[in-house]
Amino acid sequence: MSLSVCVIIPEKTFLNCETNQIILPTTTGNIGILSNHAPLVTLLDPGVLRYETSGSWIPSVVYSGFAQVANNQVIVIVKGAEEVFKSKDIQELEKTFNDL
């Protein structure tokens, strides 16, 4: 687990985790960040942020903001972020969607 990721929104810290790889939705497309990445500052568009844990990718929806990468630390500052509900059953997904 080489990268430490922190996603911060105005109301709270949305996400705080360790991962090997993270995909950020920047204004010029999706970029993947691996360990020992050069220091980077980038604008983020609203999109899907994915990070990898034990072989599987966990997505979350983020709104626009910034990301800063330095010393194997990824800090994502966005206006908002949403959890993603996953399920293999289409009925369950529809039900959750209608409940929203």
Binding site: I9, T13, T26, L43, F66, I77
Partner: protein, 341 residues
Amino acid sequence: VEGERGLFNRRLLHTYCQFKGGGGCHVVKMLSFLPRSLLNGAVQTRAFATEKEIAMRISATKNIKKITSSMKMVSASKLRGDQTRLDAAKAFGTWTSTLGTKVASFEDIVHGLVEEEKSVFVGGKKNVVIALTSDKGLCGGVNSAIARGIRGLLGKYGDSEDVSVVVVGEKGRSQLRRMVAPRMYAAATDVAAPLSFAFASELAEKVLTDFSAEKEGTLGAVHVAYNKFKSAIAYVPSVATVTPFAAAGRGETLATFEFEQPEAKETVLHNLFEYYLATELYYGMMEAATSEQSSRMQAMENASKNAGELIDKLTLLYNRARQARITTELIEIISGASALD
């Protein structure tokens, strides 16, 4: 004389004196008839409050005490909510510390306890002071503290500088309107509480477009004045200074970082600065709201306590008046009865 209003409007003035002498209690009743016309020019003599008047005052004060203590409880519960929001916003607010926000209390700046003793204002460029105050009153000294701090700051360092003041909150607006009238630029009042990040970003955008419209570099610094929440009984009026990012040159911001969109570096820095300012504003608003609630709680607590003391004093007066009345009635009855004998 009836019919002639105003001239001979007679009132019966009773004056009761009760004094203790030796082993007993003497009650002396003096009657004085004074036409009202004689009173108007001369010294105003007030009738000694009757029992009923004191009773009315007591019940009014009891109502006030009920209101202030319920306001205190409402403030206490709102304070809890504001404190949770503030703690949650702390994480959001700390990322800006890497970008160089300077926070100092008004006390330190104006009284020169900061070592360099230099002005927070950037010389030769525009400075904007954003004051965060409340819309509602009855909150103790929070708003006057900010207004006083700004006035002192402008008085000490702001004479030759181009400083504009933006106010959030009705109470601050009315005070600063009188104190620093020529510099007032805009005011945002009656914004629905709790203040959101959306409002903070709107305000940041407005300030940046209005003050650095012509070109980058005209805006020297933005100063956010708010009450920093120290504890439930203490707050510190402070000002956080935010300076725009330099895209190149000696003070280049984030010089060690690469930009994913290098051709748009200026835009990225501009957007980042707007976001940074919005964050500082949002964090300041959270602190200001928490300080306001704690101050209101304290003010209402003091008001209830004072009302309680006043009720005790009035009750003693009431009892004295009641006893005087009873004694008078007894004397009348007894002297009436003895006259028959």
